[in-house]
Point group: C2
Chain length 275, copies 2
């Protein structure tokens, strides 16, 4: 048996752990895996699809750089089992596996509330990402449940960059009578920039400000000072689970809809201990 993996992530940071785990899962069953990379080029993608179909694959996994909806490929592949992982399709008959962004944001925010923090800002990426909307929803829900107000200017869109984190700290802390006592950041790069900017100002982390990131990207969380608490999307588990489901689908199971797998919180020094 043979399965194709069609990626638009150029096998980058997000797709890599997914694809690796998926491939291991399938290889354990003796299923051959062929990967193709289309890098958001529809013509290239179509070419890869034709090649995969020519190789008589038994199933297809579609993965992407980000989890927003893309056009489905059902019209090309007919009845062949297809699963979208860290990707979604506009085809209502498709099955998509995604991390639970909203739940992850809720975890992070509840953790900060549990530390006694009451002035928690959320520094995140551009508004047009679905993940940004979902994480905002989790953050706001956790605040509301704890009876905490959403303070003016405490939700901030920006770029997914360290500079964006540094800029947000300047805006929130410089000259503020009552600055934030915690930052929940939409990715680890924003959090990393925020940590550096707090350090520049002599603000102690986690004593004065606790910080939590998102992605649990080893390069960022380990290099940060102090080491950064972060939400892990468990991409390897997502890949293994996709393998399980695809094997079941090849055996005849039919599944559609969106399945969101839980994120986990990894606590490090940036949010460790009491307030």
């Amino acid at each position: 048996m043979t399965v194709g993996i069609l990626s638009n992530d150029s096998f980058g940071r997000f797709a890599f752990p997914i694809v690796e785990a998926l491939e291991n899962r399938l290889a354990d069953e003796g299923i051959a895996v062929f990967m193709c990379n289309a890098t958001d080029d529809p013509a290239r993608e179509r070419q890869h699809l034709d090649q995969l179909l020519g190789k008589r694959i038994d199933g297809l996994v579609v993965t992407a750089r980000r989890s927003d909806k893309r056009s489905g490929i059902a019209r090309y592949v007919g009845d062949m089992p297809v699963i979208y992982v860290f990707a979604q399709s506009d085809d209502p008959n498709s099955l998509a596996l995604l991390p639970d962004d909203e739940g992850g944001a809720r975890l992070a925010t509840e953790h900060l509330i549990g530390l006694g923090r009451t002035r928690i800002a959320h520094l995140t990426g551009p508004a047009h990402f679905e993940a940004v909307t979902l994480r905002r929803r989790g953050y706001e829900a956790a605040l509301a449940e704890a009876g905490l107000p959403l303070l003016a200017g405490y939700f901030r869109n920006g770029k997914w960059s360290e500079q964006s984190g540094r800029d947000a700290v300047a805006a929130l802390f410089d000259g503020a009578a009552e600055p934030p006592d915690a930052l929940f950041c939409g990715n680890d790069q924003i959090a990393r920039g925020a940590l550096d900017a707090l350090r520049d100002r002599g603000i102690k982390v986690p004593e004065q400000v606790a910080v939590v990131g998102f992605d649990n990207w080893d390069v960022m969380v380990d290099g940060a000072r102090p080491p950064l608490s972060s939400i892990d999307m468990n991409l390897k588990a997502l890949g293994r689970d996709a393998g399980d489901r695809l094997i079941a689908m090849i055996a005849g199971e039919r599944a559609t809809g969106v399945v969101r797998l839980p994120c986990t919180l990894v606590v490090r020094q940036s949010s460790a201990g009491a307030p």
Copy 2:
């Protein structure tokens, strides 16, 4: 026609631009590409090879996490054209394409010498990496040609991490009567850690100490304060070139040996301007 790519990099940071460029080059010729990932597991690699051969591929590209020698696979694939990219084989009849690590290190060191720096330290990774040996050679050759001595303690092995860069700065600068006026770092993470440690000490970059990294990894060089000069291994060019050579080999050309493609220096603020 179909080409297989066998990777041990889990399609990570180094293999990704190579594989992407290679795939684009081959797709332009209408050649299908199938990628398999073995993650340094010989049994998995053998399984993938069998599957690729079963698909009657016309050529094979082997890539890796690092450029050190690995056991060749000629005994499995017979006369099929094989090219190693960012990887080497112990098979003397193989062809390997690699970045010119020694030349890259020479570029970095000559650039720092050109800024008038005379006390240039080299902070690098573990000694057992071939790239560490080659880059050291380029660094020492550039110093020797400029008539500069290799100062005691100025060549430092460590980990490929930010912490390693911070530790090296502590060792070289704290209490030193005449500390370095330039740092050439074996990767961008070491350089990033060094920049942060210099900043902690109030040492101005590039005015007092100029810093150059290696890899030109966007996440690190753009996030650094100030933005980091770095050596680029031109991995996309390596991938395109591998595609060209493989196409020629499939057409009948026979080539063996090791080809090293030039690195380039990208100057940013960390080494900009006069001393």
